[in-house]
């Protein structure tokens, strides 16, 4: 999130799109309701299902799964056509006035941007981005047109790009009636007025598509146009679905980043530290400090063994070899027998991964599997008869390490609003269950010993690591870990105050620069602070710590006009006091307060080299503007771009995996979407062992609309079979079963004159635990977004029929 939960109270209009906030983030509704009650805020829910959020909304916008880009493109079109954007904001704080290279264009028939070419390595297309660059003068300065008249300025290119996203066209694509669309666009566009703020909150219903990153881009674009970024009550607010998933991302749980969102070094491009620094450090913007953070990170990893003479141990840092290391690719490698073993930590891909049935099959090709979880999960028991496997044929050795639940251990958790809060232990874990920290500490010490004794490929990676976290009585000293993450001076061990103290010369160590400052005082660490704010705008600066630098709303320079006057004086975040000649603040400023306001107004988005919000971004793999593409499994052609049904850059991993022919479209006529219910949690392994929760949501079910149920002769509670192309093998169609939930909350949608039905499945069930059921993800395709490789869980095609 750019903002935080408590800040929701300042919003004038909420748009919950691709995120069922009442269901999956119930606490958000406390603040949404506060805003509605106290300032008459409106809530718009955009979702294929009339969900629990829609139930308490002012306006419900139905749409076909996988058409969010069209919806948001339509919103951008509406804002631009009716001149509802926040003009002063757009002129000063975004790249709307920048000129783009002459050769840039978008082909409306082929549905591609200039620079498209084959990418044989991925068996897909890719872009050469030469024409996507800013025009520059001889001195390297970007050429701009402050009056936004030049046809090649971003504003005009954007108008041109979205010209086909009329309400009528968007209605044909999404299936949402024209008047509902218009009403939602009108409502949200009111936040383009300077004093008003609009909040777009989303989750996996935006990201889990082959065009997921572009959906997020579209949200960013709309929020920049309306001047909602950096503003209290505004923002692009990704609501995180798991406890501490924000923390896990910050700590680089993903393969393409190392802690603090620095790119993972690649062997080919960055063989030396010098190469990495040269190629990955922009000249301007905050990331120009990257070398300080990387070298401090290396010092935290390798301690005394990292010196200026050995590139601070950079050569030991694992590097990407150019192969795709994402989830789907990893399982594909496993299918070829290339994965010897796996440590599956708090993860249950046999339920939560796409095409989960195939994953269980591939798992048998591994020699060993370690599962760390609270209960025996489906992934750890892929070899059992419950999974439909024959144990006699499987040689994989499986180890289960029982883990402590979150309330049974202490430590930091980062919430969606980037607040890093200490959580004290409530009780001891049962039996032999151990905290994750204890397990990783023991595991590392064993590994280090083995490498010391037996050697191996690049043993220094492990043997030279600085790892000293042992505490008393066989426990781990978590404070030692906190100190490492916060950062310290290596010469005297004193904790650094924040990342401004981090040095290039190796005199500081810091495990994650973004977290620096969260534990800078041993007696009163900021992460443990619990003093609520008495007066103010709800920033609560003395409650825990928010990265970066305890800043609650990022880019907050954009909350005031260039002269430093807040756009909304009722909720002042930062303001320039003319009389005293200095800034006054209700938050930690996200800009240099020592330069005049007009100067800081030129670079409100300090993380970017150009310092201004990107309506046009050359840094996205599948295009500088979001364009509507159908999901990989689509029931209709692309109405806007006839030659490009789905995202041409998207990641395909398997042949004959998604619905392509007309015959297949007839065989799988219904649009399938998957989702969560509040009673269960993720792959369900925790909640399906909890009788009180099972009582409320006892069985796997499938939601279908009344008309479809009528047509297929399905009544409430009937057993229903669901089929998809992923379960079609060697001419035989397999299926999964669920109980029918025939509901008014789903309705058929008219897509370009054809009636399309939507079928919904919660994905929480599996074959282990006290409540068992079929795995919904057996149906979903293994296709991914070209930027993140996130799988397309939210839109695919299926068939359903009554059983018996």
């Amino acid at each position: 999130m750019t903002n935080h939960w408590i800040d929701y109270q300042h919003s004038d209009v909420f748009m919950a799109i691709g995120g069922n906030t009442a269901e999956n983030h119930p606490i958000s509704m406390k603040w949404i309701e506060k805003a509605r009650e106290e300032k008459g805020a409106k809530l718009i829910t955009v979702d294929p299902r009339f969900n629990r959020t829609a139930a308490v909304s002012d306006l419900y916008v139905p749409l076909r799964p996988g058409t969010n880009t069209a919806y948001l493109g339509g919103l951008a079109h509406y804002i631009l056509e009716n001149n509802l954007y926040h003009r002063e904001y757009v002129e000063h704080y975004t790249n709307a006035t920048y000129l783009i290279e002459e050769g840039f264009e978008f082909d409306d028939v082929a549905g591609v941007f200039s620079g498209i070419e084959d990418d044989p390595a991925r068996n897909a297309k890719k872009y050469d981005r030469t024409t996507w660059q800013y025009q520059r003068d001889e001195d390297g300065n970007v050429k701009k047109d402050p009056f936004m008249q030049d046809p090649n300025c971003v504003m005009n290119l954007m108008r041109e790009h979205f010209r086909n996203y009329s309400i009528e066209n968007v209605s044909q694509i999404t299936g949402c009636p024209v008047d509902t669309l218009e009403e939602s666009y009108r409502m949200f566009s009111t936040t383009g007025k300077p004093e008003r703020a609009g909040n777009i909150l989303y989750a996996m219903g935006i990201t889990q598509f082959t065009h997921g990153a572009q959906n997020v881009r579209a949200i960013g674009l709309v929020q920049l146009l309306l001047g909602n970024m950096g503003r209290a009550g505004g923002g692009v607010n990704a609501q995180r679905g798991q406890s501490n998933v924000q923390g896990a991302t910050d700590m680089a749980i993903l393969y393409h980043i190392i802690p603090g969102y620095m790119g993972t070094p690649q062997q080919a491009a960055h063989p030396t530290l010098g190469d990495y620094i040269e190629k990955e450090t922009p000249e301007t913007g905050w990331w120009s400090n990257k070398p300080r953070y990387l070298i401090s990170l290396l010092k935290a990893f390798y301690g005394e063994n990292a010196t200026a003479d050995n590139q601070f141990a950079y050569q030991w840092l694992p590097k990407l070899d150019g192969k795709d290391a994402s989830h789907i690719a990893m399982y594909k490698n496993m299918s070829k027998g290339e994965v010897e073993g796996m440590i599956c930590w708090a993860d249950n891909p046999a339920v939560s991964g796409p095409t989960a049935g195939a994953k269980r099959e591939y798992s048998a090709k591994m020699k060993w599997l370690v599962s760390v979880d609270l209960f025996e999960n489906e992934t750890a028991s892929f070899w059992k008869r419950e999974a439909g496997a024959n144990p006699e044929e499987i040689d994989t050795e499986v180890f289960i390490l029982p883990a402590a639940a979150s309330y049974e251990r202490e430590g930091n958790k980062a919430n969606s609003g980037r607040w890093i809060q200490w959580q004290w232990k409530a009780q001891e874990p049962p039996g032999n269950c151990k905290s994750d920290l204890w397990i990783v500490n023991e595991l590392f010490k064993k590994l280090q010993k083995i490498y010391e004794e037996e050697g191996g490929a690049v043993p220094e990676q492990i043997t030279k690591m600085a790892w000293d976290y042992d505490g008393n009585d066989g426990q781990v000293d978590i404070v030692k870990v906190c100190k490492d993450i916060n950062g310290y001076n290596v010469n005297n061990g004193s904790l650094v105050n924040n990342f401004l103290d981090l040095q290039l010369d190796g005199s500081t160590a810091c495990g994650n620069w973004l977290y620096s400052g969260y534990y800078n005082d041993l007696d009163n660490p900021p992460t443990k602070r619990r003093t609520p704010e008495k007066e103010g705008i709800g920033s609560h600066l003395d409650w825990s710590f928010a990265w970066p630098l305890n800043r609650r709303i990022v880019y907050n320079r954009a909350s005031a006009d260039p002269s430093g006057k807040p756009w909304n004086p009722d909720v002042p975040q930062v303001w320039w006091d003319e009389d005293e000649g200095k800034w006054k603040t209700n938050d930690v400023p996200d800009f240099n307060v020592n330069i005049p306001p007009q100067q800081s107004a030129e670079i409100p988005f300090i993380m970017l080299p150009e310092g201004q919000g990107r309506l046009f971004s050359a840094f996205v793999n599948d295009g500088p503007f979001p364009a509507h593409y159908e999901p990989a499994d689509s029931p209709v052609p692309n109405l806007l771009y006839p030659e490009a049904t789905y995202n041409p850059i998207s990641q395909r991993f398997y042949e004959d995996h998604v619905v392509e022919t007309e015959e297949e479209k007839e065989r799988y006529p219904y649009v399938l979407t998957t989702y969560r219910v509040v009673e269960h949690y993720q792959s369900g392994i925790m909640t399906r062992n909890m009788p009180w929760l099972i009582e409320m949501m006892p069985e796997f079910f499938v939601e279908i609309d009344e008309e479809l149920a009528d047509k297929l002769g399905i009544a409430n509670g009937d057993r229903v079979a669901i089929e998809s192309k992923r379960l079609y093998n060697n001419g035989e169609q397999d299926s999964i079963e669920a109980k029918a939930c025939v509901t008014k909350r789903l309705q058929p949608l008219m897509i370009n004159g054809q009636k399309k039905h939507i079928v919904g499945l919660p994905f929480h069930w599996g074959y282990m635990g006290k409540s068992t059921g079929a795995v919904a993800n057996d149906l979903t395709p293994s296709v991914g977004d070209p930027n993140t490789t996130i799988p397309e869980f939210k839109a695919s095609l299926c068939n359903i029929r009554r059983v018996g």
Binding site: M29, F50, E695, G717, C741, R745
Partner: protein
């Protein structure tokens, strides 16, 4: 007399059912074995181990969709039908204004359950006792709010001073009426002389599955009028029964002990 009541603002309920599980957790009520029947609502009925639950109702009228959710359970009525129906006086109003079943005096006749206009009293077959929401009486007398309202994330459930809660409810109804809910209303202020669970509804009570006009059944009133004055006799009779039962049991136990000794 009741001074503190609970507001159930159904217009803010998101059906997360935190209240439903918190009730089971605090009162240590076992889970009921259920099945999916086509609605999110479960368990299907109130019982000795389900005292409160969220009721889900869905409608589509003139193209307008509604999915109404509300926490329901014992209303703790002022004019409490269960109390009037109880032959042993086991059901009474506490000093806090809540309605409680005295388990010792309950004889399991189930008249209360039959009389309750809200149909929320369960029956425990093993102990032969009627069971229902206690308004977390054990928490109340220790200065804590009921477990359901304590966990509500959206402030749909709010516990507080009666006068403040009623004012809050009235404000909320005004707000709802101004914002497209002409049928919004308070429920439980005049009904059965007022309840300690006061609702704000965005629509008619029937649409939430609540009775439009809850009343003490006529039969219960007649029965109470005739039988009420004689209740003390029943108490004596029940007391005698209990005494006889205990003595008998003791004799039986003694008998058992003797048999055991004999067999040794």
């Amino acid at each position: 007399m009741k001074t503190q009541i609970c507001l159930i603002d159904a217009s803010k309920c998101i059906g997360c059912r935190g209240c439903q599980s918190a009730c089971k957790q605090w009162n240590q009520l076992p889970a009921v074995e259920t099945e999916f029947t086509g609605t999110y609502e479960n368990p299907p009925r109130y019982s000795c181990s389900t005292w409160t639950k969220v009721v889900f109702r869905e409608y589509r009228e003139n193209g307008r969709l509604q999915w109404l959710m509300s926490k329901q359970g014992c209303m703790h009525c002022t004019d409490a039908a269960c109390k009037l129906a109880c032959p042993t006086g086991a059901i009474y109003h506490t000093d806090e204004g809540t309605v409680t079943i005295d388990e010792i005096r309950c004889i399991g006749c189930n008249y209360c359950a039959a009389a309750c206009p809200f149909n929320v009293i369960g029956f425990d077959r093993f102990t032969n006792r009627a069971k229902k929401c206690t308004f977390c009486y054990d928490r109340l007398v220790n200065g804590m709010e009921p477990s359901c309202s304590a966990v509500c994330p959206t402030d749909s459930l709010v516990f507080g001073n009666e006068r403040e809660i009623i004012a809050k409810a009235q404000n909320r109804v005004d707000h709802l009426r101004k914002n497209g809910n002409p049928e919004a209303r308070i429920y439980g202020l005049d009904e059965v002389d007022g309840t300690a669970m006061l609702y704000v509804l965005a629509d008619k009570p029937e649409k939430y599955g609540l009775p439009a006009d809850p009343r003490v059944p006529f039969g219960t009133r007649v029965w109470n009028a005739i039988y009420g004055p004689l209740r003390f006799l029943v108490v004596i009779a029940v007391g005698f029964g209990l005494w006889a039962n205990i003595t008998k049991n003791r004799e039986l136990d003694r008998g058992k002990e003797e048999t055991q000794k004999g067999s040794e």
